[in-house]
């Protein structure tokens, strides 16, 4: 069959999955469409961002005065434990999996993920373990209170002696989160390896797909180790085994190895896709090809390799032998090389570009700024003497919040604004978006910068009262924290009102190059269906005039007719 011109109806018609409603109800059903699942992931994760943020507000409220006067100390222990757990396992990973679901199939020209039902099952585990974790607020003794890393022997205390206690629920939730993420990772990796459009070789893939592939590889290698370690912790807690109990011959440091073997690379699971987002957005909004595409792509794989051999840098004060400290200090510092290559490539992309300061670009630039700052303190922390000096102080807290909020969450915001028109069919409101950026950027730096001088002065983390000499910086940090809380309001207002009342979005509002921009906004259920374009050049051909796919004009004209 040959088409003389593409029937616009093919691109316009929506083909809902049989049995699933093609309206808002599908977002509450076991839907197997990756684009529905992506939105389910993102909305769920934003809900938990509010929950985790509320816990953070209470903590900053406590810390605005030196005395422990707002909440009980044991409640404070539960607050920081649950804040960290919720933000990582219920906000960060789900929101990135949401972006993966929306973007990967569209970017590589696949109709859906490789295993749609597995995909839906992986998503529906998220509310399940979310509820389990939330339920721990209601059990006697309250939620887990041993920090998000749950080190034994602290995590094995269980003073009330109940079988169902906060810690047991915490371990169950984290193990289920691991199962969900592994199911997701199998799906993403298979999809990227097997379902790319004809002509899309590995070195014609958008960088976001490279970084998603790298991040999901880390999930596959690292998560089983954490899950195994968590199962052993659960047995120690509820069955009385002695894996980590020193009195029975166990070794608590063994748990730290399991935990950090995954949980350090987990940082790269978070930041690699954000590197991908930066690499997608800078070329579009600076109208230039990505500088050093091949190096940026390969640097992602190098980061995967290195990230698996750096975990002991979290354990420098945990009684590890000196040779291990030296080795892991060097390997940690080596990560700065591939990361530096990426930062250099982004600067090269921006250099001399026609930079458009719209909301996604502002968030990307702000995120890059914060990331470079976090990278500098990261190198400081990699050094054994500095790390031992500032270990367990606010310096560490400041460093990782710059990474997780300053860089990663701002990158996620950038991605949400950038692809919002594509997947909702509506433009967002630029003014609200810029207000959101301003509040977020100022709030982030106001909240997290003061933690560095505090840490250097010696203020420990995880305390609800402190010496009055730390009060000045704590007040500033708390004000920044409340500003961050306020910054969510224009964001949510923008998302809801734009989706309902926003102006209709064209198929390609940014004049961007990429397969997802050859689809209508929002894309139909099976994306290109049988009309998958043949890719004939690499991504990011801005200003080169090279078409991305065969018959590009026909695809573009069909979009306009539709």
């Amino acid at each position: 069959m040959t088409l003389t011109s593409l029937d616009p109806g093919i691109l316009k018609a929506s083909h809902p999955v049989p049995g699933a409603p093609n309206n808002w109800k599908r977002f509450f059903s076991f839907n197997t469409d990756a684009k529905v699942i992506g939105i389910q992931y993102i909305v769920t994760s934003l809900f938990f961002l509010l929950v985790g943020g509320l816990l953070a507000m209470i903590m900053r409220g406590e810390l605005i005065t030196p005395e422990a006067d707002l909440v009980d100390r044991t409640v404070y222990n539960a607050l920081y434990t649950m804040h960290g757990t919720i933000m990582l396992f219920l906000f960060m990973f789900p929101v990135l999996n949401g972006l993966n679901n929306l973007l990967i199939p569209c970017m590589i020209g696949a109709p859906d993920m490789a295993f749609p039902r597995l995909n839906a099952a992986a998503f529906w585990l998220v509310p399940v373990f979310g509820v389990i974790l939330m339920a721990s607020f209601l059990v006697p003794g309250g939620p887990a209170a041993s920090g998000w890393w749950s080190y034994p022997p602290v995590s094995l205390q269980n003073p009330l002696g109940h079988l169902i206690n906060g810690e047991a629920l915490w371990i169950t939730a984290v193990a289920l989160s691991g199962v969900s993420s592994i199911m997701g990772a199998v799906n993403f990796v298979t999809t990227i390896l097997r379902m790319r459009a004809p002509g899309m070789t590995f070195f014609r893939m958008p960088i976001f797909c490279w970084t998603a592939l790298s991040a999901q590889t880390i999930q596959l290698i690292g998560l089983p180790a954490l899950t195994g370690g968590a199962v052993m912790l659960l047995f120690d807690l509820v069955a009385g085994t002695s894996f980590y109990r020193p009195e029975g011959g166990g070794d608590p440091v063994l748990y730290q190895h399991f935990f950090w073997f995954y949980s350090h690379p987990a940082v790269y699971v978070i930041i690699l896709p954000v590197f991908g987002i930066f690499s997608e957005l800078f070329p579009v909004h600076a109208r230039k090809p990505l500088f050093g595409y091949v190096f940026v792509a390969i640097a992602s794989l190098v980061i995967v390799g290195l990230s698996l051999v750096v975990w002991v840098h979290h354990m420098f004060p945990s009684g590890v032998p000196q040779w291990m400290r030296d080795l892991f200090m060097v390997s940690t510092m080596l990560i700065a090389v591939p990361t530096g290559i990426k930062v250099f490539a982004w600067l090269g992309t921006l250099w001399g570009g026609k930079i458009q300061l719209n909301t996604p670009m502002l968030f990307s630039l702000g995120g890059l700024f914060n990331f470079v700052f976090a990278g500098v303190t990261g190198i400081m922390l990699a050094t054994v003497p500095v790390d031992i000096h500032v270990n367990n102080t606010y310096f560490v807290v400041g460093h990782f919040h710059y990474v997780i909020y300053g860089a990663a969450t701002m990158g996620v915001y950038a991605a949400i604004y950038h692809w919002f028109p594509k997947f909702t069919g509506h433009m967002y409101f630029e003014g609200l978006g810029k207000l959101h950026f301003l509040l977020t950027f100022v709030g982030t730096n106001l909240n997290f910068f003061p933690m560095h001088p505090l840490g250097l002065m010696g203020m420990p983390r995880r305390v609800s009262s402190y010496d009055p000499e730390f009060a000045f910086w704590n007040v500033i940090a708390s004000l920044g924290g409340f500003l961050l809380g306020v910054s969510i309001i224009p964001f949510l207002l923008n998302l809801v009102s734009s989706w309902v009342w926003g102006p209709k979005a064209p198929a390609n509002p940014w004049k961007a190059i990429g397969l997802e921009w050859l689809l209508p906004s929002p894309p139909p259920a099976e994306n290109f269906e049988d009309n998958v374009p043949t890719v004939i050049s690499g991504p990011y051909g801005y200003g080169t005039g090279k078409p991305l796919v065969e018959h590009q004009e026909a695809y573009e004209r069909a979009l306009q007719e539709a």
């Binding site: 593409l6 004809p198 180790a225």
Partner: protein
Amino acid sequence: MTTLPTAPPGPTPTHGEGHASHPSYTLTGFIIFLCSESVIFLAFFAAYALLKSTATSWLPPGVEGLEWRTPLQFTVVLVSSSGTIAVAEHFLGKKRLWAFRGFLLLTMAMGALFLYGQASEWSGLSFGFTTGTFGSLFYLLTGFHGLHVATGILLMGLMLGRSFYPDNYEKGEQGVIAVSLFWHFVDVIWVLLFLLLYAWQA
């Protein structure tokens, strides 16, 4: 006049559920999953090796060592079942369904025999799950492996049942290959486990 490429010629196996035709990626996904699954075992092995090599006293009081001769016999049974499932696969390739079913059933029986051996060993041991670090690790490792053997037997039962559906094996081979890979995986893990638990007793 421009032309657009259409779907590649020839029938492609469909995936059901109203999705556009595309080939099945079950095997790719399953191999990726197996690689991931092996890390859990590696983590448990590493825990065993680390705790054993740093322990001051390893075996529980009154235990001299593990008896290895009977477990070795069951090891031989399990390892040979990797051969029988390969034979089953061979007959499936030749479309000799009854021979396939027979050898699949034989493999399942050998797996069940191994589980029986495991259970009888457990019931004869003087230490339990909570008797110190060695006891905890011994039951964790053998129990987690046994769970995989049981899963493998269940999956083979599923393949056996599916073989009676007409036309199923037009596209069902990927499932059999996946189960067979899983079974080989379970065998290799057991050999490593045997070396770790029974051979390394010094």
